[in-house]
Each structure stands twice: as C-alpha cells, then as structure tokens.
C-alpha cells in the first residue's frame, strides 16, 4: 500500500512534468508537421537560464523571465531559421532543428561548463509537504504538479478563445485558414514560441527537481517524442494521458525489481508498437 501510494504520487508528478514539456511539442508537431528535435534543448535552456537568473534575482522572477526569454528565442528561431527552409519541405526543417539540438548542447557547455550547476529549490518550497506511511513527499513536487495542472487549464481555456479558434483552424486546416485571411505563418511563430516557453517552464521546474547538466536534454528528448506519438497528433488531452501513462509506467517499472532492468526500454517499445498498430495515437484524429 505504502509502495503503491508513493509510486503513484511520484509517477503522477513526473508525468505532469512530461506533459508540460510535451504540450508545446504536440502543438508544434501537429500544426507544422515538424518533429522539433530541439524541443528538449529549449527545456535545457530554461533550466540554465533559470539558474543564472535565480542567482541574480531569485527563483520567482526566474520562473517568469526564463520561459519568456526562451519563448522569444524560439519564436526568433522559427521566424529566421525554420521559415527560410520551409519551402524545401519538412525534411530540411527537421534537419534544422536537429542541427540546433547539437549546437544547443555545445552552447550550454561553453557558457555554463561541462558539469552540472548548483540550481536549487527555493527555500520556501524546500521541505516535505506531508508524510505518507513514514516517507515524506516534497513540497516542491506538489508545486510542480499544481503548476502543470494550471498550464493544462490555461491551454485548454486559450484554445477556446478567439485566438485559440484561429490556432485550432490552422492546426487542422492550414490552407483553408490561410485562404480565409488569417496569417498562418504568424500563428506558426506564435505557437512555436509558446511551445518553447512551455518547454522552458518545464526546465525551470525540472532543473532543480532533478539535475541541471548538459546531458539533460538528451535524457528527456526521446521521452517527449514517445508522449507525442502515443498521445496522438494535435491532441492536448491525448498528450496529457500519455504523459501520465508513461510517468506511471516508468516509476513503477523502476521501483519493481523484476522490471527495473527493462525500464529504459518500455517507453520506446510502447512508441514503436503504437506506430505500428495505431499510428494516430490514443486520441489523435489523423495520422501524420
């Protein structure tokens, strides 16, 4: 009972972080058809920027400023990088983000060094929130969960406003939305920037909950694709369910002795099986 309850809580909190990370990618992927290989790099930038800002201004400004800065950088990358190669098709766009993911790791190493940085949980949230069967549940985890749920709520509400209507139109029928007079490229830039900002927010929260180091992008990079594929194209709710599923699956697989060796395999196995038998994902409406 104790084991199940704790693993459940840990799995859900990990899953919620994964969701925040992949929500943006789902939107970007389903809208532009671009598998953004650099998405996890923006997560990493978020964590590192938050570290630098928190040294200077503290954690709370960093929570706001780091995602904004990374979102802006993402929008600029989309406007001046991706948009220039879009006319050649999806493959150059994919290659572009792939190249960026290389450059990102090197940039981080050049600016912050090769080892991990000491990015800490703010003092207010440092400590247990409650204890369950004698094991403490950290308050910061609860804060992460709360923020992820707020993000889900905010995105859900946003997609129901007028702006959201245009985004959803551009998501499902880009040509038609363009023909009706909406500036679809600008919507793309906006969505790309927002997606990167969300990834950075996940980085701000995940960076001190786990560890902020140059390998952190690669550690989650694959997992994010799994979430997007399993959740389905263009479906935020699908991404949410897939994140929780993978978070729980990973936590339980690691915790149970018999399956702990197989834990790194499971998400990719799920992804490959999903692509074979249900390419549209759990809740996706169309295949890629």
């Amino acid at each position: 009972m104790e084991f199940v309850a704790l693993s459940l809580l840990n799995g859900v909190s990990y899953g919620l972080l994964l969701f925040m990370l992949s929500a943006g990618l789902t939107l970007i992927f389903s809208m532009m058809g671009v598998l953004n290989f650099a998405h996890a790099s923006f997560y990493m930038f978020g964590a590192y920027l938050a570290y630098s800002i928190s040294l200077w201004l503290g954690f709370w400004p960093a929570l706001l400023l780091a995602p904004l800065a990374v979102g802006l950088a993402g929008a600029l990358f989309e406007r001046y990088g991706l948009r220039r190669v879009r006319r050649f098709g999806h493959v150059p766009e994919l290659l572009m983000t792939f190249g960026l993911s290389f450059v990102a790791v090197e940039l981080v190493q050049a600016l912050w060094g090769r080892s991990s940085v000491d990015y800490r949980v703010p003092q207010v949230l440092d400590g247990p929130l409650f204890s369950l069967f004698g094991t403490q549940f950290p308050a910061y985890r609860a804060f992460m969960m709360l923020l992820s749920l707020l993000v889900l709520l905010a995105l859900w509400l946003l997609l129901r406003t007028r702006v959201g209507l245009v985004i959803r139109a551009a998501l499902t029928q880009p040509q038609m939305a363009q023909a009706l007079g909406h500036n679809v490229p600008q919507v793309f830039t906006l969505v790309f920037g927002t997606g990167c900002a969300l990834a950075a927010l996940a980085g701000v929260l995940g960076g001190n909950a786990f560890v902020t180091e140059p390998g952190m992008a690669q550690a989650v990079g694959g997992m994010v694709f799994v979430v997007v594929v399993v959740g389905g194209m263009g479906s935020l709710v699908g991404a949410f369910l897939a994140s929780l599923l993978i978070g729980l699956m990973q936590t339980f697989a690691v915790a149970i002795d018999a399956t702990s060796k197989l834990a790194p395999l499971l998400p990719y196995l799920l992804m490959v099986l999903m692509l074979i038998w249900r390419p549209q994902g759990l809740l996706g409406e169309r295949e890629s």
């Binding site: 493959v91 060094g113 490959v272």
Partner: protein, 416 residues
C-alpha cells in the same frame, strides 16, 4: 559511334580516378595517423552511401541507421570469434556476415518501419534506434555490456601470408570493399528497383496508382541499405577489434545523418565527401579544439539554410557556372569571397575558443595560444580585436558575395 565511346570514357573517368585514389592513398599517406584515417574513411564511405540509399534515393530520413551498422559490427565480431574458434571462414569474408545479419534484421523490422515515408519513418526509426540501443544494455550476453565484445582479426589460415594483422593489409581489404560496395550501390541506383525507389520518393501515390506497392519498394531498398551498413559495421569491427553498445546509439545515427546531408544527398558522390568530412572532424578537428561539435553543428545549420544540397551540389553548381562563364573572369571575385570567409571564420573561431577557454580558466591559465598568437582571455582588448575581425569579415563577406553574384549574372547575360 565515336561520340558514344567518348561518352563512355567520360563516365568511366571518375570511377578510374576513384579506384586509383582508394588504392594509391595508402601509399601516399603511409604514416600511422594517415592509415588510421584512411581505414575509417573507407568504412564511413560505405556507411554514408548506404544511408543515402534511404535518404537521397528513397526520401526516407532515418534516425536509426546505426542500428544496422552496429548490429553488423556485433554479428561480424561474433563471427570473427567463431573463426578464431575454428570456423572455416576466411577473415576477409567476415564483413559479409555482418552485412547478411543486418539484412536479416532489416527484413524482420523493416516491414513495419517502411509503412510510411517522411516524418512517420523518421519517428519509427528513431524509436527503433532507442529501443535497440536500450536493449543492448539489458542483454549483456550478446552485446558485452559496458565493456563490449572484442576479438582478434588474426585468425584462421593466412593465404599468401596475408593475416590482416598489420593495418596496411587491412586497409587494402577496406579499400577493396569500399570500391566494390560503391560500385554495387551505384549499380543499384540504375536497376529498375533503384528507379522505382526514386519514384517512391517523388510521388508514392502515383506509383501506387500505376500498380506498384510503395511499401514493398521501400522495404526492399531498406534491406539493401541495411546490408551495406552491416558490411561497413563488419569492417569497423575488424578495424577496431572491439565493438561496444555505443555503435548502435542515437549519436552514431545522428552522425551518419549529419555528414551525409553535409556532403549532399542529391548526388551519388555527395555522401563520399560527407564521409571524408566525418572522419576528419571526428579524428582531426576533435583533437584540435574542444568546440569542434559547435563548429560542426553550426556548419550544418548554415548549410541547411543556405545550401540544402550540401557540398556536392555547391561544387557541381559552381563548376558548371565557372565553365560557362570562364574561370579567368571570375577567379578574382571567388578569391575575394574565400578570403573574406576566411577572415570571418578566424574572428569567429577566436571568439569561440576564448569563450571555451574562459570556462576552464582555473585549469588553463589566462593565456590562450591560437595558431601562434597568444591571446589574453581576461583582457578586453583581445575580445574587442576578435570581435572587430569577425564583424569586418562578415561585412566583407556580404560585399564580396554580392559582387560575385552580380559578376556571374553579368557574364551569363553577356555570354548568352
């Protein structure tokens, strides 16, 4: 009649030059570094060409090609160890065992992989790649765990005294494999299946309408590409006498992708250029600077933006242009572009090296030696100087490039 023969001669010339280069290079670069580089270049050429059978010929962007080169390496290594144990198979055929093994794996996994091209293919190859490399760490029996599997390439009988023990003997084998595999892959692009593969790349719906199943075509090409990747892996196993699980991983797959695209996917010889660049970057550039991946990554991004056809397309386009408008009237404009690009690169490299140096100030001290210059990384004057060189180089590059383009346009118009 003579025109026909002439045409054949022209087409044969590059192949003769290629064969000569492969066979003579070991005589020219006979230092130990040269031999190491040549062995790896030969192997990389086969791997990158096989990657391009998928990407360039079939429009399939694979993020998991290292699965097949890596499995080829493991299978070849286990075969080699059997040979050491008494299996009557010449060592020179061990890479073929790797190739056939990889092909079998591709026949097993390929059907579901090749259902779609484009992004779906990219994703499923990525997933397969992660799956296989994660599996490799679980099954330590076959993959040797962290330490990997090692062997000894001096095994079995040695006909005419060839044991493949010395690097020079092995290099000859690698050169032969490279030549034969290149020729076979080129021949494949001229077969009906190779042509169908191009059709699948360009318009799968239309091909399906004509009565071919695009998935079958992709599947066959996938297995063939896996065979050549496996041969490359097998040669690598013989070359290093050691295989560990990282040869299966995403990094290796990414390197094939990056350098094949850098070389150029639109021409058959593009990946050969890419393979040479790959080995030079991995062996020489990485020894020269810590920031080598940054240079490689930035070069890649700039190439994707400005020259999506890669080095090969650049070479072909400028070669044609220079032939049409005359070398003599353009060489100065080209020289200006190259010189200003050099200045820009120098300024940029100094800045990057200084940033990297500053990161390890405590260990390295305040002075950065850079091609004979001694730079003070803590003095603002050195930063300013590097910045000025970089910015002025960039300005010159813009101007000279514009001039060169204008000159080309003039000459092409004037010459009709």
């Amino acid at each position: 009649m003579s025109g026909l023969v002439n045409l054949r001669c022209v087409r044969l010339a590059p192949w003769l030059a290629y064969a000569l280069a492969l066979l003579l290079a070991p005589l020219v670069f006979d230092s130990s570094l040269g031999q190491t580089l040549l062995a790896q270049i030969g192997i990389a050429i086969i791997a990158c060409l096989s990657f391009n059978l998928l990407l360039g010929q079939g429009g399939m962007l694979s993020f998991g090609h290292a699965v097949y080169s890596g499995m080829g390496a493991f299978l070849a290594m286990h075969t080699l160890n059997r040979v050491s144990g008494g299996l009557p198979l010449p060592v020179s055929l061990v890479p073929l065992a790797g190739g056939l093994g990889s092909m079998a794996l591709a026949l097993l996994l390929g059907w579901v992989t090749t259902k779609k091209a484009g992004t779906a293919f990219a994703m499923i190859t990525f997933g397969m790649g992660e799956l296989v490399s994660a599996t490799a760490l679980v099954f330590a029996g076959f993959f040797g765990g962290e330490a990997g599997v090692s062997g000894n390439r001096v095994a079995g009988p040695a006909p005419w005294g060839i044991t493949f023990g010395p690097q020079s003997q092995l290099n000859l084998l690698i050169a032969l494999y490279t030549l034969v595999c290149t020729a076979l892959m080129f021949a494949f692009t001229r077969t009906p299946l190779g042509r169908l593969l191009n059709a699948v790349r360009d318009n799968p719906e239309r091909l399906a309408f004509v009565g071919f199943n695009p998935q079958v075509v992709r599947y066959q090409a996938f297995a063939i590409a896996a065979f050549f990747a496996g041969v490359a892996g097998g040669l690598a196993a013989l070359n290093f006498e050691m295989v560990s699980a990282d040869v299966l991983g995403a990094h290796r797959s990414g390197a094939y992708l990056l350098f094949t695209v850098l070389g150029g996917t639109g021409y058959f010889f593009g990946p050969i250029i890419g393979a040479v660049l790959m080995v030079l970057a991995f062996v020489l550039l990485s020894g020269l600077t810590k920031a080598w991946l940054l240079y490689v990554g930035l070069t890649f991004v700039l190439m994707v933006i400005h020259a999506p056809g890669g080095v090969a397309a650049l070479l072909v386009a400028h070669w044609r242009l220079l032939r049409r408008s005359g070398w003599r009237r353009l060489w100065l404009a080209y020289l200006a572009v190259f010189a200003s690009a050099g200045v820009t690169l120098a300024g940029f490299a100094v800045l990057v090296e200084m940033v990297y140096h500053l990161q390890q100030l405590a260990a390295l001290g305040p002075v950065l030696p850079f091609f004979g210059l001694l730079l003070q990384v803590q003095h603002w004057a050195d930063w300013l100087a590097a910045g000025v060189v970089f910015v002025s180089g960039l300005g010159l590059l813009t101007l000279s490039r514009r001039h060169c383009l204008r000159r080309q346009a003039q000459l092409l118009q004037g010459g009709g």
